[in-house]
Amino acid sequence: MNRTFLAVRRRLLQAVPVVFGIVAIIFLLLNLSPGDLVDVMAAEEQISDPQVLEQIRAEYGLDKPIYVQLANYVWNIVHLDLGYSFRHSQPVWDVIVERLPATLILMSVSMALALFIGGLAGVVASIKVNTLYDNLISVVAIIFFAAPSFWIGLMMMVLFSVKLGLLPVSGMYTIGGDYSLAGEIWDVTRHLVMPSFALGLFYAAIYARVMRASMLEVSGLDFIRTARAKGLGEKRVAFKHILRNALLPVVTLFGLQLGTMLAGSVVIESVFSWPGIGTLVFEAVLTRNFPLVMGVLLFGSILVVIANLAVDLVYMRLDPRIELR
């Protein structure tokens, strides 16, 4: 375990230059896009005085050459200062921290759902391979894979909220609802159902297919025959011997997809008015609010680094042949 700890620490240290690299690249890419925050604000605020625009640009530090801006930004990051969102009249840190929990809740629940539903469907499909169950699971998986998640979200909304009235349409909690802690958790859970499924089902579809293929592949391996030769029942063979090995590619995929899920949550958050990071960053890009975009992406890349490390640790637990380096 101590070795693991050292390896984790080394990995985190190695991630630091990577994150800074990401910061620099994103910073430059963002600055390649036409227009800046001041343009957008000038339009919104109907500022007609070019001098005022120059003043504001100077105030925001946008008048300096890009490399100076980048150096300033990195300098600030080193001092754990993510900068100031002039648009929100708040430090970037505060803006993000306010919205981060919602996204984390949505993402972790979606991921859990995706893993559970997709994994289970894949296992069932592989056990019942080439039967009606298998085909049914394949068809459903294809539908959820192909259908855009916002569309699934809207359809769920129409069905479960408008037609059946079972679930709240959107948002994260009932506005003005005055609940106890338990009531509040229940309220958020009800709001969470549709967005997490809308986001999770796409990934569940992927996991189902990968899981099925992986289960089938593993079930043809020699050690599965050994397990059967011991006299183990099919269920035990499937759930102990095959599943444990078949999980490995799914876990790998999971690690790779955390980043894309962050992107997918932008869409779902916008459809369900989920007050997370996604809608924030969308708006920030449109308004060229770069400190905020950078802040979110920085958070995002740190999140992905940590999540990948966690995935590696899980992987290591699942497969003793792998060691953290």
């Binding site: 391996l221 025959r225 011991k230 444990r244 497969d319």
Partner: protein
């Protein structure tokens, strides 16, 4: 005394897209307790398929046992349900596989895998199962069995793994142990050690052992009787000494000829030709195309198993004639 295991007319086919592979065709043999029977033949002749048929583990699809009987005591294993068969596998019949490198589950410790075998068939506590596992590891001569118990398979050498496989197979004192080419994948010195071990354990446990091999050299020291298979069929059966002293079937003779023997400096003779496809079998003897002694009859008719003396069986017209010529009784 009736034999421990009786295989009668076992026929296992593989229904593939290319056609029906007749992997095992009308195979019969007996196995006594305390006896080691060697099943010998070139690669692809259906040895493993025979073993899997006995275990009820023929991969389905594409395989299916289409006929015959496998009598263990008075039960026909082929008539048992999957659930009943599970109680027999690993318990009354156990098997050691060809590839030690891939036959252990990489994500569980070797100890746990042996414990699982014990717990599957024995009503014992985990602790007791653990003790039994350590005992078994010790039995198969693994040094520091307690230390090895928590090792994962990838940390062990091939020979060690095969020992673990054997320990696992012995976990429940099986009556029949099938060892499918247990040493093929190992290097020569280890091969000898593992074979010696098997021999000793066979005596200790008093099991009937079916030793599958394509290498007649392996057979000499360890087997009591030999069954030679060719293209899914038994072509000759005899006590081990008779096989080496006077092989009857031209195929057996060919096998012996291709076997390096100490002291014999002559060049090895290969059996000419290739193993026939098991899909489109010609009428007549399947070895005929490769056989130096083949006659016209051999290409038309499948020779029956002829019993020679009280312990030998051969399926070959030429051999029958030869034996008859020597004045021995041929009983077909």
């Amino acid at each position: 005394m009736s034999p421990l295991l009786q295989v009668c007319d076992l026929t296992t086919h593989l229904f593939t897209v290319e056609g029906v592979v007749k992997a095992v065709e009308g195979l019969s043999f007996d196995l006594d307790a305390d006896e080691t029977l060697a099943l010998v033949g070139e690669s692809g002749c259906g040895k493993s398929m025979t073993a899997l048929s006995l275990m009820g583990l023929v991969p389905d699809p594409p395989g299916r046992i289409v006929g015959g009987q496998v009598l263990l005591g008075d039960r026909d294993l082929l008539q048992l349900s999957e659930h009943e068969m599970q109680k027999i596998r690993g318990n009354e019949i156990a098997m050691v596989f060809q590839e030690p490198m891939t036959s252990l589950n990489p994500v569980f410790t070797v100890g746990d895998q042996i414990v699982e075998s014990v717990l599957t068939h024995r009503q014992v506590s985990r602790r007791q199962a653990r003790e039994r596992a350590v005992e078994l590891l010790d039995l198969v001569r693994i040094p520091d069995p307690r230390g090895r118990f928590d090792d994962y398979p990838h940390r062990l050498s091939g020979g060690m793994r095969q020992r673990v496989m054997i320990a696992m197979a012995l976990a429940c004192d099986p009556d029949v142990l099938i060892a499918d080419e247990p040493t093929t994948a190992l290097d020569v010195t280890i091969q000898a050690q593992v074979l010696d071990l098997l021999g000793e354990l066979q005596g200790e446990f008093g099991m009937g052992v079916i030793l599958i091999t394509h290498d007649l050299g392996v057979v000499a020291g360890i087997a009591d009787r030999v069954v030679v298979m060719y293209a899914g069929r038994k072509v000759e059966e005899a006590p081990v000494d008779d096989i080496f002293a006077s092989p009857l079937h031209p195929y057996t003779q060919g096998l012996l000829g291709s076997m390096p023997r100490p002291g014999l400096e002559e060049r090895l003779r290969e059996i000419p030709g290739v193993i026939p496809s098991l899909i489109d079998m010609t009428p007549g003897c399947s070895f005929a195309p490769r056989c130096a002694k083949a006659m016209a009859r051999c290409r038309e008719e499948q020779p029956d198993h002829a019993t020679i003396g009280d312990a030998r069986v051969v399926a070959c017209f030429a051999a029958e004639e030869e034996v008859a010529g020597r004045g021995l009784a041929v009983d077909t």
